[in-house]
Subunit: 295 residues, 4 copies
């Protein structure tokens, strides 16, 4: 009974997360704009729904993993939105990368409807989602966390609690994505400096990635940047730019000048303007650096 | 016999390195502008010298670990410089953070004098030097590397070879220090964003430092930045600024626009202008971020 | 008959513009949030109104000069907004500094209501408004321009037509305000450079203002910046920041990386964060430059 | 007798200045690296010299207008430099765009030699030089100014005195060139914003150039930028970059963070890296802005 939950958003991340929940024995009430995407999943474990409202009917929890603030707001507040049907005392587990402002707005609506909203964005690329290696940040009510916990444990390697403020975990997610972009920028600059001085880019990347910068960000991205290996596209420049905008907007709302955010924002805006929106963000940033350097 | 080497520069790094060489059985011909600094070392294992030339007399290798390009040039080319006495076939192991330009200039002079120059800057703070945990980057002639290797093995946990170009290892060192500064900047911005949104700075730092950014740079500096813990001073803002200038100058010489270098350069120049030159560079950067944010 | 027009917004600019219209023989149907402000005007020439709708009733033209996009949207589209009463074939002369997006939205509503919308922002400070020295940029329908022309001629020294696109004149206004901010920034940097090198700031400002930069922006602001004369407050840093945000948002929407916009945006965001929102924008920028320089 | 002066440097500026001096009745002792350039001048009024020393022999004044600090230092201090022959009490009128540091160094040498050094850089393009419309900034000893005055009056429309510090006028010149570059950048950004929003670039440039920005910089450069008219080359991007470097170096030496200087520096460094060094600086900057905007 308790094993039936709603699930909205079968993108590169969502499809892997859904699979893990099915593996754990959950039955998913699925809504996706392109519902044929659900054909990849075990049909006995899912019910295809025609709207968010249908996916939310009768479940004690529903997960959303969608593109951006606007889509999420429509998914919750729209005519056929979650709020229309989600039972009292159920929880909406909101895993998309969105602004804290939107989380606060939606939390208010859920509270008024007698159910609850849990902010729970994740760190990790699709491979990490498939391997249950996501890092999940949560913030919100204790009760919502309690309901969500057994579900989220099937999706990642750790759940970190950032308090009760609904937007809290969004801030951490936005900050983290900014730090990843800034890391890509700094590596692109540094490795191009090496290249122009006759030093092997990859050798430098491997040195840093195995010593003072021996973290996944510098190891995995470092290799891609060093090799100018821009295929396959893991995360699009257009999505990176969306996140840079979120970071910039948050810096405005928080009244914090963040020059490094401006830098990566402008780098990715340049990528968009040059028509590179569909490239991997490593290309969007890395190629910007090398083209400006005349190589 | 072979165990007698020259050693110039007993700063925070040099004193620890000298101690490790003594522990390994070397006798050091030491020159330091403030020679009383040598009193901290075992007197039986050292000879205090009155000039670089005296320290270089009769040794097969001499290490320099001094403040900057100008001091090093004076140390080598000055009236009482190393070049006056260093025996043929000996090697000058140049471990300071300097420009590749200076390495090339000095290598030329050493070659003309019949001895050799090995670029070998290091990564690591004084504690790492004391613990023999430095990472040593080398570039230059094979013969020089062969002579230096048994000596350098007493100073660090790894020696990485960046080829035969004399300035090569300097470029890697400058790139790495830039990456550290940029990391401090991005953490300072991100954690201040968290703070202004009611999230605990340290909690965020610990999360990133134990997950996607689990590298020493983000763990050690991350904690200092999160706690605004600016004492004791490990590496002065004035020295960080010196390194930012080296990076900027190299970006000019290499014809690579490096906006992240401009950013950290201007951040540290602001610190200098505000009179914070003697603070730790974590303060020079971190306090700049928080003051601009009005906290 | 035709001499009765609506007028909304008695701020520093509006009050001077209203006075000039009264001097030209117009009777003004006035709405202002703080209606007591209208006491400064000749009571025989005005009618105080309780809502935008009341001010728009029976007029062939209505001028709005309000704080920002949100206030203007409420003024037009709100429950007691202009649209409720403005007669067919009348024109809304929209003189506030707002985004082109808002102009396009409002123009659509006016067209549907059978009347028209004329974008007509102005360049000039309150003194220029009082002296009928404003420069007025217009864009929109020819018919609307024809109706507005005899009215606008009482407010400025020139009306410049930027075509039929409703947002066109807004883009020019936003671009111009950005150029003013960037000019203030460059002067602040240059004159501080002079000061730190022992040269009189004012002498430099007067030299440039009377030779290659002999334009009002460099003459008037140049003197204020040189003298660090920040009183009286003519245009608040908070308003300058609002305009920097408009410019930044427009650069995003237009997909143009504008690093100089980022620069002035962050300078004014710093001013806001430091609590200088109510200072003149010359102080917001100029003091930021000198404080960063340690003076 | 007094009408014989030395003249070194027949570049685009120098050749026009030399012509004006000849027109005023002076006989010029000319040195230029490519001496054939002097063939364009009235041969009866000049003496071609084989070295700076020869040009300085027996004159009461000598003008230098050369490429950069290095060339000027060689011209004065070199083996066949001015200092070898310039008579006591004569004055070296130094009109090149150089650093204040170099002026101070040369002034010291001249003082030791019993003659004097007058810093006197100019504002104006070659056409202005030809039309005697230069603005001349001077700094240095009163005596030197008195000797130079009757000579300089034949070259420009005004001489402005910036005090006795030798580097003073250099600082003003560097600050001014920075302001011109920053103006070109801001116009390029603003007019590209107009273009992408469907507004005629030239119309916007003409509006600003005839109203609030009605100064030569915005009128002349404004038209070139608006029309993307990059030929003929008046002032090369490589020279603009040289001046941006001077400004940056001076900001370091003066301990003033100047973000607008960083911006134009990086813009021109990008131009150099992309191989546009020989284009006009309007192209170096303007094309950088449009390419980043994808047009």
């Amino acid at each position: 009974m308790e094993k039936k939950i709603g699930f909205i958003g079968l993108g590169n991340m969502g499809i892997n997360m859904a699979q893990n929940l099915i593996n754990a024995g959950y039955h998913l009430m699925i809504f996706n704009r392109t519902i044929s995407k659900a054909d990849e999943l075990d049909q006995a474990s899912i019910t295809k729904c025609k709207s968010p409202a249908e996916a939310a009917k009768g479940v004690h929890a529903i997960i959303t993993m969608v593109a951006d603030d606007e889509v999420l707001k429509e998914t919750v507040l729209g005519e056929e939105g979650i709020l229309k049907t989600l039972p009292k005392n159920s929880v909406h587990i909101s895993m998309s990368t969105i602004s804290p402002e939107t989380s606060q707005l939606l939390a208010k609506h859920h509270t008024q409807a007698g159910n609850s909203y849990l902010t729970s964005p994740v760190f990790g690329r699709p491979e990490a989602a498939a391997a249950k290696k996501l890092w999940i940040c949560v913030s919100g009510d204790q009760q919502a966390k309690a309901i969500a916990k057994p579900i989220l444990e099937n999706l990642g390697q750790g759940i970190v609690d950032f308090g009760e403020t609904h937007g809290g975990a969004n801030v951490v997610k936005i900050a983290g994505n900014f730090m990843i972009m800034a890391s890509i920028e700094m590596m692109a600059e540094a490795y191009t400096l090496a290249e122009k001085n006759g030093i092997d880019r990859l050798k430098v990347a491997e040195f840093f990635g195995s010593t003072i910068f021996n973290a996944p960000i510098f190891q995995n991205y470092g290799k891609l940047i060093a090799n100018k290996q821009y295929e396959p596209v893991g995360f699009k420049s257009a999505l990176g730019y969306k996140d840079a905008r979120l970071a910039f907007k948050l810096s405005q709302a928080s009244e914090i000048p963040m020059p490094a955010v401006s830098l990566v924002h402008n780098r990715l805006l340049t990528a968009i303007a040059k028509g590179w929106g569909d490239t991997d963000w490593v290309e969007g940033i890395g190629r910007g650096v090398t083209e400006d350097a005349g190589i």
